[in-house]
């Protein structure tokens, strides 16, 4: 029996997130912001992993689903919530999670809307359609005055805390894991491996693909909601193609279809730019005497270093950082 163990892990993660959240007021705000960003990244990467990694459908529209969720929950908490006259505690602990669910549902609807007609497409073609979808969302948001248009949406309350971000991250990883280990879980892998053969086995491949798209988009939407209430400010530019690529890179780096690998990659790739920024603000003592050497160049080269690391990793370990190791245990 694997399930009870996994559920215990989930429970432990939730309790830990709760405790961390309770003491978070004593944590440095910048550090807290970065750590919560890690949680959001884990949700995004893990949910995309269900679509790209496990089911083998190359989607480049994850930032689009995230945007749908971000704006949905932000509109709910900035426009609807004040009219309710609820106590702030209730708003953060009852209304906010409800708005996250609404964000996820609307993103899932968007996922199904783009998925249902386009999932006949494979590989590059699907990638292009999802990319187009993501751009459409961004452009529509940019031209919607109701949500602030290109100026962005300000004054989003800071409801995201360690509990919500890490609780959601744990829940996402658990959901994807449980789905893959359910009776039907192997169906996703079969679709990724060979669609024709999967069809010949009697799998309704379209249903699997749509399920993956719907669930993946749901969690992307929830991640968007968390992100909105973490940053306090939304700008359509933040959900551009670059953001989708960033999430895809996490999935590829972690090893398509590896649970732990992708979580690890999400953490690494969120911390790395911050780490390099931090490093760039330091200086090393000059061994020849004289003025200390500034590492300021790292700040400017940050994105180049980041890209170089990816290139080197892909050349050295194209299968991702984590490969096979966790597959062996599955189903045994």
């Amino acid at each position: 029996m694997v399930f009870p163990v996994a559920q215990r892990w989930l429970l432990a993660a939730l309790i830990l997130a709760w405790v961390a959240s309770a003491v978070s007021s004593s944590i440095d705000p910048y550090f807290l912001d970065v750590v919560m960003g890690v949680g959001v990244s884990v949700v995004l990467a893990s949910s995309l992993n269900l679509i790209n990694g496990f089911t083998g459908q190359f989607s480049l529209g994850h930032a689009g689903f995230m945007a749908v969720g971000a704006y949905t929950s932000a509109m709910l908490t900035t426009v609807v919530a004040p009219r309710l006259g609820w106590h702030p505690v209730l708003l953060q602990w009852v209304f906010f999670p409800l708005s996250l669910i609404a964000a996820g549902l609307l993103a899932a609807v968007a996922g199904l809307a783009v998925g249902a007609p386009s999932l006949r497409l494979k590989g590059d073609y699907l990638a292009i359609v999802t990319l187009g979808f993501g751009e459409i969302i961004r452009v529509v948001l940019q031209n919607m005055d109701m949500v602030g248009g290109a100026r962005g949406l300000t004054g989003v309350p800071a409801y995201s805390n360690l509990f919500w971000t890490f609780g959601t991250a744990a829940l996402t990883v658990y959901t994807v894991w449980a789905l893959l280990n359910s009776t039907h879980g192997r169906g996703f892998l079969a679709v990724a491996d060979d669609e024709v053969a999967a069809e010949a086995m009697g799998l309704d491949t379209t249903r699997y693909k749509i399920t993956a798209f719907g669930i993946g988009a749901f969690f992307a939407g929830v991640a968007g909601g968390l992100y909105a209430h973490l940053k306090g400010y939304l700008n359509p530019g933040g959900f551009s193609f670059d953001k989708s690529i960033e999430i895809v890179v996490m999935v590829i780096l972690g090893g398509m279809g590896r649970h732990a690998g992708v979580v690890f990659a999400a953490i690494l790739l969120t911390l790395l730019p911050e780490g390099l920024r931090e490093l760039g603000s330091r200086s090393v003592p000059n061994p020849f005497g004289g003025a200390a050497w500034s590492l300021d160049w790292i700040k400017e080269m940050r994105m180049i270093l980041y890209s170089l690391m990816l290139i080197v990793l892909m050349l050295m370990r194209p299968q991702g950082l984590f490969h096979r190791s966790e597959r062996r245990r599955r189903g045994a």
Binding site: R186, L189, A190, D193, A200, G202, L203, D204
Partner: protein, 235 residues
């Protein structure tokens, strides 16, 4: 058992099948032979629902299955082992076989079917935990056939089981197929490039050429027909 009437298939502007008719009787082995592009694979794909026919009817056990989705057709007991032995390369041998039993819920049944497949191809038992992508060509073909059998089909379609496999293994696989057909009186529709072998194991054969049935007769007759000899059996 299986009747195909006037089946036509088009891929865009290209017509792949121009009204093909064929019959596979209960318990029989029927083969489709013909050169590349004759429409053999298309015929199988149309029967299993992977391509939609533009016209014609497909009857399985007297029921019209034309235009049904592939999973609905498999559910009726029609198994298709596709060309190029499409095994799930990233799943283990065991997982591949379990995928074959995807529509089966009875675990006792699955276990007995596994035993049957292992009896047929003992090599598979030795390779249970190996990833299917690391098997040899012949072993992958055995796995593809075994996987198709796991759904307890009432009808089996095989596409080019001899393709790219060592001759010795081809012989073994074909011997098993004949056994399977006899023991379970399982009807088989076999698509083969190796016309010699195909006509040897089958009772009936159809020769396809550019999407039409050129000849059809008992396999023993086709073997001796001068046209077939010169075109497909090397004189």
């Amino acid at each position: 058992m299986l009747e195909v009437h006037n089946l036509s298939v088009q891929y865009g502007a290209i017509t792949a099948l121009h009204g093909i008719s064929l019959t596979v009787p209960a318990g029989g082995i029927v083969t489709l032979i013909g050169g590349t592009g004759a429409g053999k694979t298309t015929t199988l794909r149309a029967i299993s629902g992977m391509v939609k026919p533009t016209s014609g009817r497909i009857l399985f056990d007297g029921q019209d299955i034309t235009g049904l989705a592939p999973h609905e057709i498999v559910r009726r007991g029609l198994a298709h082992s596709p060309e190029g032995r499409l095994v799930f390369a990233n799943l283990t041998v065991m997982e591949n076989l379990q995928m074959g039993a995807y529509l089966q819920r009875d675990s006792q049944w699955i276990a007995s079917e596994l035993e049957y497949v292992f009896g047929m191809f003992p090599r598979l038992r030795e390779r249970l935990e190996q990833h299917a992508g690391t098997l040899s060509g012949g072993e992958q073909q055995m796995l593809a056939i075994g996987r198709a059998l796991m759904s307890r089909p009432r009808f089996l379609m095989l596409d080019e089981p001899s393709l790219g496999i060592a001759p010795l293994l081809v012989k073994e696989i074909f011997a098993r197929l004949v056994e399977l057909n006899r023991e379970r009186s399982l009807p088989i529709l076999l698509v083969e490039q190796n016309a010699h072998l195909a006509l040897e194991v089958s009772s009936h054969g159809y020769v396809l050429e550019t999407g039409r049935v050129l000849l059809s007769d008992r396999s023993s007759v086709l073997r001796d027909s001068p046209e077939v000899r010169s075109a497909y059996l090397g004189g």
